[in-house]
């Protein structure tokens, strides 16, 4: 259906301009070195995240592979952190023979001896716990690197899907509000005012407290609380665009309201939505971390960057810093790269916003 519209004489030049706009944007983006580096970093994170969703990497994060709080292998134990070599233990323990129950005294001694010969069928290979890990271990001896990868994957998942739903909600409501105006607009504006009158974090927390824990609920909660910015933006764009000639032309050839909203106007603000999407993703990754840190986030069988950070205070007083550092590196890299990319995207696709 789109092709017929684009083939219509009145819209003759539109496809070329349209393609040209994106191509132009891409060219502008490519000139921005910072944005390109950020794009690569974000790409790498996305690859990790997607691999994590399909359990290709980070699947074994719950496996206890090392001793509790195993230190990073490259961290040489200083003399201050180790005990002097053990002295021979004094007296008592060694100078008398060990007394214990003998096999003859044991009422089930004979059966135990037989069982000992048959225990082979239950023998399992237990890998010994490692004393150190490449980037240390947590309380249960889980590898911090694997945990960080899985946590990043969860956080990116929550960020991206949360942003998608937020965008969907904000765009639909904003479009309806801006396009129809009147009573509908008044009502939605009132609704918007209610939501923005409550501080973001407070709103998020109250929704989260009601909804319980889990990745799905976080995504829903975030979509329900973060749609207002997108709504305002989209509403303004629709107010502006609905009276433009191309919309009137569409109306003249009998296009329905739905068609005008989604087929004629929406593509013209798609570049704004892309920028908005990236902004939201960054914001929601941060929100997820805060929620999980406060205990409203992912469930106990899941891990996210925020839930890892929540373990940090108890670890830091014990001098265990590696989990916090790993999360900090992952999180700041992701958020910084994403933010820089958003800047670049905005410069490239929304040049007007720059002026």
């Amino acid at each position: 259906m789109t092709s017929t519209v684009q083939a219509a004489p009145a819209m003759n030049s539109t496809p070329e301009v349209h393609r040209g706009f994106w191509a132009l944007g891409w060219r502008r983006l490519k000139r921005d070195k910072i944005a390109m580096v950020s794009l690569m970093v974000v790409g790498a994170f996305l690859a990790i995240a997607i691999a994590g969703w399909f359990n290709i990497i980070g699947d074994g994060w719950r496996k206890e592979v090392a001793v509790p709080y195993a230190p990073p292998s490259w961290l040489a134990q200083s003399a201050d952190e180790t005990l002097p070599p053990a002295e021979e233990e004094a007296g008592a323990r060694s100078d008398a023979p060990i007394v214990t129950m003998t096999e003859a005294e044991d009422p089930i001694g004979k059966e135990l001896a037989i069982a000992r010969q048959n225990m082979g069928k239950y023998a399992s290979v237990e890998t010994p716990l490692r004393e150190s890990l490449p980037f240390g271990g947590d309380l249960r001896g889980r590898d911090v690197i694997v945990k960080t990868i899985k946590g990043t994957s969860t956080s990116v998942f929550v960020g991206i899907f949360g942003a998608l739903f937020t965008l969907l909600l904000g765009t639909v409501l904003g479009a309806i509000s801006g396009y129809f105006g009147g009573k509908v607009d008044d009502f939605l504006n009132w609704f918007y005012s209610v939501f923005t009158s409550v501080p973001d974090m407070l709103l998020l927390l109250s929704f989260a407290a009601v909804a319980g824990r889990g990745i799905k609920t976080i995504i829903i909660v975030m979509a329900l609380t973060s749609w207002t910015g997108t709504y305002r933006l989209v509403r303004a764009e629709y107010l502006k665009l609905k009276n433009r000639e191309f919309v009137q032309a569409a109306s003249a050839i009998g296009a329905s309201d739905t068609r005008r909203i989604f087929v004629h106007i929406l593509p013209n603000i798609s570049h704004l939505l892309l920028v908005q999407f990236s902004l939201l993703t960054v914001a929601l990754i941060k929100y997820e971390a805060i929620l999980s840190f406060l205990g409203f986030g992912v469930g106990v069988t899941q891990v996210s960057l925020g839930s890892m950070l929540a373990e940090a205070p108890a670890e830091l007083v014990q001098g265990v810093w590696w989990q916090m550092v790993a999360v900090t590196i992952a999180m700041s890299l992701l958020v910084t790269a994403f933010s820089l990319l958003v800047d670049g995207l905005r410069d490239a696709f929304d040049p007007k916003a720059n002026k």
Partner: protein, 595 residues
């Protein structure tokens, strides 16, 4: 020049100290801490360790423990010498020291009040008095001739303290006689507990229900100020008699020798004022200690252990302060508590209980599936050692060469269950030899730590294909279920009331089912040995009986032994003579502090 002047000053003050007859320096203030609030300071009415910690310094029982002897040794305190026991072991005669005075109190109307045998008689009867509502009345009731009858009568009227009582009486002003209904080998230890400290009758009657806030004793300190649950301030008691420290530690006991070096020759007490603050949160307590606001830390909070101590992951006995604290001169006293933890199998449970071979095998397999070393490492953070005898270290009767432990071997546990016909059903879980399903009713407390234990037990029991359901309950319900034998398995702990093996071996005596015998263990073999041991004082014969009792328990498997935890007290460099005592809660009266 300056140095010289200073030296002169020091000499002068030293001279002053001797003339001022042993009064401690009021400017020497000790700041100490507890991590839970106290109940109050009436010996008969309290039973928490924090109240006792303070009362140890205000009241003086007949007997006490040597501060540096290990294992803890009884010595006379208010008594002139150890009790004289009659040949049948039923009559104790105790002579009191003369010239011990109570601290001044308005009740005494400005007169000095000497401690007499009548005060001890009153204190013991007061514990039995139903109106007192003492949580420790079991120490007195059921033991002394004629006391139970008085207490029985007092249920309807007032307790008659003046009525003659054969069991507890003063022969003269300084002589006390106690007559027992049956043997009570623990009596000397009971007379060393703060609960039984002599108190002045006129004081208790004057303050009545308010006695918790008005402790008047003969000890080295008096209560200056008490804000319940917040702060307690003690100052030295000017009426306290002249006592000079003279400690004789066991040769080779480094901590004890240190105490002797620092304190011998000084008079008791050295510190003029003690301020005890209550910290219910661990972090603020630690920060207050670290910044020097506290002189003494009652115990290092468990979450901080790894941050404060370097520990040997293979040997929990080896631990030392981290360099940053060592360099700051902080000191630590780390000793095993006279306690043990263990897992009870309910010996009356239809599935787990019983003495037949197959039941023993089931319990043994469960015991073999649990990795105690792992939980010591993960849950206790290496701050505990395995319990290998039913009497812990530091308690008379402990045998360090006994190994009460079951090998951790899951394949063997599985093979053993196969051997006895506990077959794995189609659902992956074992059934009894006669084909009935097994499900262990595992009782636990609902705390976060309780959940942590459950995780390890779930894993252990899964590995031998035994189904388990966890039943988290409150502490009160836990006790109730343990005493009524209505559970499958449960974790239990016991800390010494007094440092004698008797206090531990009685945990498995069949007459104690419904009370301390929480495994509901009713073994004729064990009971016979226990009754024999009751007749003996500490001796190789009694130790041999204890070994035999441990073997019987190992064979019949009513318990899976757990661990014994360390207590870690920390002090600032200026604190002298401070050492953890296995029975005393605090050491303030034996300590000094450099200004």
């Amino acid at each position: 020049m300056r140095l010289r002047a200073l030296a002169l000053m020091a000499m002068l003050t030293a001279a002053c100290a001797t003339t001022a007859l042993a009064a401690p320096d009021p400017d020497k203030v000790l700041h100490s801490s507890f991590n839970a609030p106290e109940t109050g300071y009436d010996p008969a009415k309290t039973s928490d360790i924090y109240s006792h910690g303070v009362m140890e310094n205000i009241f003086e029982p007949l007997l006490t423990y040597d501060y540096v002897a290990r294992p803890a040794k009884l010595i006379p305190l208010v008594a002139k010498s150890m009790p004289e026991v009659s040949a049948d072991g039923l009559t104790y005669t105790i002579h009191l020291q003369k010239g011990i005075y109570f601290a001044d109190d308005p009740v005494f109307k400005g007169k000095k009040r000497e401690l007499t045998a009548a005060d001890q008689v009153y204190a013991l009867k007061r514990i039995a008095d139903p109106a007192t509502g003492s949580p420790s009345n079991y120490l007195v009731l059921g033991h002394f001739v004629g006391v139970d009858e008085l207490a029985e009568k007092a249920k309807n009227s007032k307790f008659d303290y003046d009525a003659p009582c054969e069991g507890i009486k003063a022969l003269d002003r300084y002589t006390l006689q106690l007559k027992l209904k049956q043997l009570y080998p623990a009596l000397p230890y009971v007379l060393a507990m703060p609960h039984t400290s002599p108190v002045a009758r006129e004081v208790m009657e004057a303050y009545g229900q308010n006695s918790l806030a008005h402790p008047v004793g003969t000890g080295p300190y008096i209560l200056k100020e008490w804000k319940p649950g917040v702060k307690t301030t003690l100052v030295y008691n000017p009426n306290f008699r002249h006592v000079v420290f003279d400690f004789h530690p066991t040769p080779g006991d480094k901590a004890g020798e240190q105490v002797a070096r620092e304190m011998n020759g000084k008079t008791m007490p050295q510190i003029g004022k003690i301020e005890v603050s209550i910290f219910t949160e661990e972090q603020p307590m630690w920060l207050a200690f670290k910044s020097g606001q506290l002189d003494e830390l009652y115990s290092i909070p468990q979450p901080l252990l790894r941050g404060v101590l370097n520990m040997d992951p293979k040997n929990p006995r080896r631990a030392a302060l981290k360099a940053e604290y060592r360099k700051a001169g902080l000191k630590i006293s780390r000793v095993l508590d006279p306690e043990m933890t263990y897992w009870d199998f309910n010996m009356q449970d239809p599935v787990l209980g019983g003495f037949s071979k197959e039941k023993i095998a089931l319990r043994r397999a469960i015991a073999m599936s649990f990795d105690t070393d792992q939980t010591i490492r993960d849950i206790r953070r290496n701050n505990a050692v395995r319990m290998e005898y039913t009497i812990p270290e530091g308690v008379v009767g402990h045998n360090p060469n006994f190994r009460y432990q079951y090998e951790y071997n899951r394949p063997l546990a599985n093979a053993l269950l196969d051997q006895f016909g506990y077959k794995i059903g189609p659902d992956g879980y074992r059934t009894t030899p006669d084909g009935k399903p097994i499900s262990i009713d595992f009782l636990g407390d609902a705390s976060a730590v309780g959940r942590q234990w459950n995780e390890y037990w779930q894993e252990a029991l899964d590995s031998i294909h035994i189904r388990v359901t966890f039943r988290p309950v409150t502490f009160n319900d836990l006790l109730k279920a343990m005493r009524s034998c209505t559970y499958g398995m449960v974790g239990a702990a016991w800390i010494a009331d007094y440092p004698d093996g008797e206090n531990f071996v009685m945990l498995n005596y069949s007459k104690n089912i419904g009370a301390e015998n929480t495994a509901c263990y009713n073994s004729p073999r064990y009971d016979k040995l226990y009754l024999e041991s009751q007749k003996l004082q500490d001796s190789p014969e009694r130790n041999h009986l204890y070994d035999e009792m441990n073997k019987v328990m190992m064979e019949e498997t009513p318990w899976l032994p757990g661990e014994t935890r360390f207590r870690n007290r920390m002090m600032q460099p200026r604190v002298l003579g401070d050492e953890v005592h296995p029975i005393f809660q605090v050491s303030w009266r034996f300590m000094d502090i450099q200004k």
